[in-house]
């Protein structure tokens, strides 16, 4: 899979400007794909795409605010015109607001569900119209271990991620016969900007994460990307409506 397994493929990663999204985008590009970094943050999107091009990889930035359901279809249309087809779409864009449930603002709740649940759905809908017409495509949704295990202070995030797991099942089941697979990943704690911020803000510490994880270490971005590339490949062609955990044993562990 390492070599050029995705040569010629067009792969879109929402929120691909940084963190996990960028890690996946880079791995697809290394495997030969033409990668589209769909980002709300222009600065991050532009610099990430140009960083990949500097490595000799094929990458472009496209502005995308997944909160606006009008934007997905426009981007899909543009990319199909530019590239002929979209082979893989990764719904990775996410936000997180930490805080006690009893005081969580309506704005933060709505924003979280809007970005991660509605955003994932409307992007999937937009790209699926194209993929279904073509009879081919893979949609990958980024969930989280928080879809299966709740953490205090993260009610909106946990709820949204759990919704993504069912969304993956519902769309996967509905489109299974028409050549479009819908799969998910549930990463554990991975050293990204998001996790570094959580540690900095004092919501958790690295030692705490390490102790809690049976493997006693955080995950690496490339380990998540490896799983995504597997699920995106034909080696996973009978896998649909399923979410794969990449969590060092986090969810399986239920003791003190």
């Amino acid at each position: 899979m390492a070599d050029q397994a995705f040569a010629g493929a067009t792969v879109v990663v929402t929120g691909g400007g940084r963190g996990l999204g960028f890690g996946m985008a880079r791995r697809f590009a290394v495997a030969g794909a033409h990668v589209v970094i769909a980002e709300i943050d222009r600065a991050a999107g532009t610099s990430s795409a140009s960083a990949l091009r500097t490595e000799g990889l094929a990458a472009v930035f496209e502005p995308l605010d997944v909160r606006d359901p009008e934007q997905g279809p426009v981007l899909v249309e543009k990319l199909v015109a530019d590239r002929g087809a979209i082979d893989i779409w990764v719904n990775n864009a996410g936000v997180e607001y930490n805080g006690p449930a009893e005081t969580l603002s309506r704005r933060d709740w709505n924003e979280t569900l809007n970005v991660m649940v509605s955003g994932t759905f409307f992007c999937a809908q937009a790209v699926a119209r194209h993929m279904l017409a073509r009879g081919k495509g893979v949609i990958i949704n980024v969930a989280s271990v928080n879809a299966f295990t709740a953490i205090e202070g993260r009610v909106a995030y946990c709820t949204a991620k759990a919704a993504i797991v069912m969304l993956t099942q519902a769309l996967g089941v509905e489109w299974a016969k028409r050549g479009v697979r819908v799969v998910g990943i549930a990463p554990g704690v991975v050293r990204t900007e998001l996790v570094e911020r959580i540690i900095r803000e004092g919501w958790a510490s690295e030692q705490l994460y390490e102790r809690r994880t049976p493997m006693h270490r955080l995950g690496r971005v490339d380990e998540i990307a490896d799983a995504v590339l597997f699920l995106a490949s034909d080696r996973a062609k009978y896998i649909t409506a399923e979410t794969l955990r990449i969590d060092g044993g986090w969810v399986a562990y239920q003791l003190f």
């Binding site: 299974a176 994880t213 380990e223 009978y238 896998i239 794969l244 562990y253």
Partner: protein, 265 residues
């Protein structure tokens, strides 16, 4: 070559999914040990793989006997230096109304598919723990995740394997041993034909019950097992990966029900 020079033991690899896994592992560069209860079947599988230029070797194995598990482990370790990968695939399957299931049938299925998985894993893991490295993949089933009438023993064993996978994964993660499960949907194998022969299902019904509209081919299961066995899954442990074409999450509103005559009123 994601399994280059790995020493891999696959139980029940003489046919069906096990043989497919052995073949996929060989293609990825592994030295494969076929653990088989049926000596002739094991030898035949070995011949088919070596004829393709692969490194495969059959050894007799009864997973229900701890001594047999230990003997195979010792033999492989002596001849090949270690065991990097273990796939617990061996299984047996019968169909019975639960009120009529013979005790021997219940015990045999639990013995092979739950106790056998534990005994074989225990035998192999001791060496893995000593070396601080290993990957174990258990073949569970979507049957272990829900109610399928007339499969009390099979599904209970498979549910047990899913729980066992989680326990061992969390217990041995600090030794750098990963333990995962794959839950195949209905796969085109001899086992699929058991229910068909008994008139309890048809190939077409299985296909229609699957959102993808078809049963799985052996290769499709083997590819998932090869992924989990390899370093590409280095942060994956304690999971049960469904390879089921969407079977489990489907609500199947128009199910015919069981038994059909009662479900229809």
């Amino acid at each position: 070559m994601t399994l280059a020079d790995r020493v891999a033991v696959v139980t029940g690899a003489g046919r069906g999914i096990g043989f497919g896994i052995a073949q996929a592992f060989c293609r990825e560069g592994a030295q494969v040990i076929i653990g088989e209860l049926d000596v002739d079947r094991g030898r035949d599988a070995e011949k088919r793989l070596t004829a393709q230029g692969h490194r495969a070797r059959a050894l007799v194995l009864d997973v229900t006997q701890a001594e047999s598990c230990a003997a195979l482990t010792d033999r492989v370790t002596a001849d090949h230096g270690r065991i990097d990968v273990l796939v617990n695939n061996a299984g047996v399957f019968t169909l019975h109304k639960s009120e009529e299931m013979p005790e021997a049938d219940w015990r045999r299925q639990i013995d092979v598919m739950l106790t056998g998985v534990f005994l074989m894993t225990q035998a192999v893991a001791r060496g893995m723990i000593a070396r601080g490295q290993g990957s174990i993949v258990n073949i569970a089933s979507i049957g272990g995740m829900g109610g399928w009438p007339m499969r009390a023993a099979y599904n209970s064993a498979k549910a047990g394997v899913i729980a066992l996978t989680e326990v061992l994964a969390t217990e041995w993660a600090h030794y750098n041993i990963r333990v995962n499960a794959v839950s195949p949907g209905v796969v085109r194998t001899e086992m699929m034909n058991v229910a068909i022969r008994e008139g309890l299902a048809s190939a077409e019904q299985y296909a229609r019950r699957t959102p993808m509209g078809r049963v799985a081919e052996v290769d499709e299961i083997a590819d998932a097992v090869a992924f989990l066995a390899s370093d590409r899954a280095s942060y994956v442990t304690g999971v049960n990966l469904r390879v089921d074409g969407g079977w489990v999450p489907w609500g199947n509103l128009h199910a015919r029900g069981f038994p059909e005559e009662v479900a229809r009123g």
